[in-house]
Symmetry: D2
């Protein structure tokens, strides 16, 4: 199948290569033409503007930097050319707001907008092992699934509403960044108290970060049932207080530990000390106005 491909950043380029390797015929465009030339050597046609990548009723894949780039490149003229039956697979990490706007705009031209943000970095893309969060029209999704399989290991179908896929991608990057912060604070505290950072990271990788421990907590929190009580919240607060006093003694600022202290203290002040410590999620849900704390 001939596929239009717009946006050859590190991620776009890695995806495009996988598609060419899988035998797809690509017409590529990039704002700065240099990167397109490399793909040309591998057999891609290079278009001089975005619209020239389009085949009426065909498939367009975009991998762009942000909301602004997406809005600028995907204009009315381009959508008219793509037209009825066309499918636009938008792999960029953009806002749910722009995804909603795009979905409506595409519909005016008979084009299906599929949100398909990818999880993984360029090296994962090059290995064909991305995860894809896919949302949009069922027919369009069915049609393009074989294309996605050329560069992904897992495709999660999130239903018919494109913005939800973008929300999930943002949540993932948030969870990752949270771990970067948590790990950095943990390693700083360790180093200032006589531990070797590489040793800590190695132990993390063999224990907490080896798979199920944190995943199991995620499932428990999702259920909104903080049982069985395997580790009391009040004990969790005791330990975080020990973390903070160790941090104070060793002059290590740990803002995430402070946040946890305040969160758990509020939970105990509201008589939640005997719940399992995953019950701190009840505080989080309550603050968001999710009244039962449990899945609605």
């Amino acid at each position: 199948m001939k596929i239009g491909f717009i946006g050859l950043g590190n991620m776009g380029e890695a995806i495009a290569k996988r598609l060419i390797d899988a035998g797809h015929e690509l017409r590529v465009w990039n704002r700065t033409p240099d990167r397109a030339r490399q793909l040309a050597q591998q057999g891609a046609q290079v278009a001089s503007d975005p619209k020239q990548t389009i085949e009426p009723g065909g498939v367009l894949i975009s991998s762009l930097a942000n909301d602004q780039a997406l809005e600028q490149v995907i204009d009315h003229e381009l959508l008219q050319q793509l037209g009825k039956g066309g499918v636009h697979i938008s792999t960029s990490t953009v806002s749910p707001t722009i995804a909603k706007k795009m979905t409506e705009l595409h519909a005016q031209f008979g084009v299906a907008y599929l949100a398909a943000p990818v999880l993984g970095r360029p090296d994962i893309a090059a290995a064909g092992k991305l995860s894809i969060f896919l949302a949009g029209s069922p027919q369009a999704k069915e049609k393009i699934t074989p294309i996605l399989q050329a560069f992904s290991q897992r495709i999660f179908d999130l239903g018919n509403d494109p913005p939800t896929a973008n929300v999930l991608k943002l949540i993932c990057n948030f969870l990752l960044a949270s771990n970067l912060e948590a790990i950095a604070e943990a390693l700083a505290l360790g180093q200032k108290n006589g531990l070797d950072r590489n040793n800590i990271a190695e132990i993390f990788s063999q224990t907490l970060l080896s798979g199920s421990p944190i995943a199991n907590y995620a499932k428990q929190i999702a259920k909104g049932k903080f049982e069985p009580v395997l580790f009391k919240l009040a004990l969790g607060l005791k330990d975080i207080n020990l973390v903070l006093s160790t941090a104070t003694a060793s002059k290590t600022p740990m803002p995430l530990a402070s946040l946890l202290h305040d969160r758990l203290t509020a939970a105990v002040a509201k008589d939640r000390g005997n719940m399992d410590w995953s019950g701190l999620a009840a505080e989080v849900f309550e603050a968001a106005g999710l009244h039962d704390g449990a899945q609605s």
Copy 2:
């Protein structure tokens, strides 16, 4: 071997049972005698006070609630009785400060104090699959390793200085609690934007929380080399800003996302936007006065 065992909370009880099942002879004591009785039915001797669990020059294991409990139970008289050649395996999650104090006190009586805090909850203990962070005298460690193997899957030797094992345990609980907060905020945002919480948790367990993704970041951060640049820090900030604007629109308070916003904004303001986003750790290390950012 005859072993003294003090402290039969959920964790202590699970460990004690494993030891009995492995054929060890236990003399147990607990502040409230009820729990000791259950173990008696399985063959443990029940002592009427802590000192009666002691065999001179033998091994004592304690599993106590906090610093105060440890200091109260392990008094001079008890240590005198345990005496030269004795080993005290302290599995409790206590402060590095008390560990240091205990180490010095034990030494006065010729007793080796081993810090051996355990990672895992009581159900993991019951299955004999705890991880143990072990620190203290090499001879003592060698002597009691077979005992630890009865209830653990992995023993990490952290050297001769007991407090370091306690620091590592605290760091682990901090990393866990950070994930509880991150996951709860992520699920709240998802739920308020049309996603199903259980579905998100399931996807997390198959992707980010499936093992290596976060562990690899931990190793990279430990090295203090934020290369190769697989995902630019400035792009990370862009995504966290999208998280926050989605949170604002859906009235979801996300204090951890706010913390990340401020952290990454500071990094960009200090010209770190082109580093890999794991480089936010450079900010964390710098704030702790770790000057090079890298392992010292």
Copy 3:
């Protein structure tokens, strides 16, 4: 002088009344006409749409809820009618971004856009005691100053660039909200430790909040010279640590105290412990990429 007046919320209404009382002839418009009727009884003419409030080359005052309302009401047609020599006094708390956009748009029609956000609540406006942050064209400012004096006590001239006035207004609301949070946390801690909240507030009003104490700190921080050292930063950290331990003991979550703890800890970790404690500002400036810490 005939003045057009758009937007009769609590604040707009109070300002309009002052103008009428001062003898100005007002043509008023409000999205919901009810509020306009009350002013009609006091002598204002009620316009049926925004454009009818306009006198070519005259003065228009707007008091609107937010960026969106401002953009919607102040359209091209209205600006054409206001035309050359016209002045638009925008008293709303809006973003610097929209102020910039509006300034440029108004210029196309020969209209001067003056940013004139007001500090004070409706009761202060009714008493004619608002403070006004004024920025924009010097000629326009001179022309309309007598009008502003009808409802203000102080007019601060911030120069020719309208957005700066909006930034200052936002900063003021931020400083106020920060005090709401600080006061609330302080009172909660006091109440949970046996003090009477009203008593604390009374003592605050006679001491710290009586005028100069905090204002003097503001001037010192602005200078970026954290001298003389009247209270060492390391002692400040000691006290905040006492605040937090008291908060921990009384189960009072104090996220702002936690933030201060982390800020001061970082300062001490970077060898700033011997500065005056106003030197925590050096940390804040540094994180913003303001390299010298001092005024540039």
Copy 4:
């Protein structure tokens, strides 16, 4: 009256001078004798150890660095010497915990322990304008009030329980430090958006920080009645969101603004958007487990 005086740091020295100037006879002691010598030239007797400053049944004033120093200097022997009828005026900023312990210990020797932490810096002390938070035995307070008047402008009587005075002092330093942070973030944002820092500070001193504005909020919050609604909480959130978007655009990390965003967002999510924005205190009180939000 002969007065013992222990601790000649910057604050202690300034207080001691005031007492000498007022005609009191002082016997002073300081850990490092240099500072005592200066006072000797002004007529103070220099004691070679703390106990030598004591007159049985007399008055002792201490001005010490922290809990540890207080506990070390004020020992059993010293208290025995001070004895029945003696009064110890403790002006140091120490923890309520140590104040409680000291009160009980002093009672054993018939000595009254008065907590009398001072508000103000050494220059204020030198001018005799400190505020004193006084708590302890009524008879003792009455006896020593003339002494306190030599270096203070205001004495607030907080009742019979010494620790409450220490809590109030800590709360004051917390409120001050909160303003340091708030001001620093505000000035950084202003500077990065074209305003002059000194100009902002000057405007602050003439408006928000001129006395009553913030003090009035404190009284309203103390009452726990967030009426009348002069500025809606939802509008406050709007403004803080504008602060944050301005901060994002100008790369200014503002963690306190982030905290306010999360606080106000939670309030709106829980249907508190129509309260006066001082109602963010309702969130703070609720998190502390103060159930009605109002004064109990």
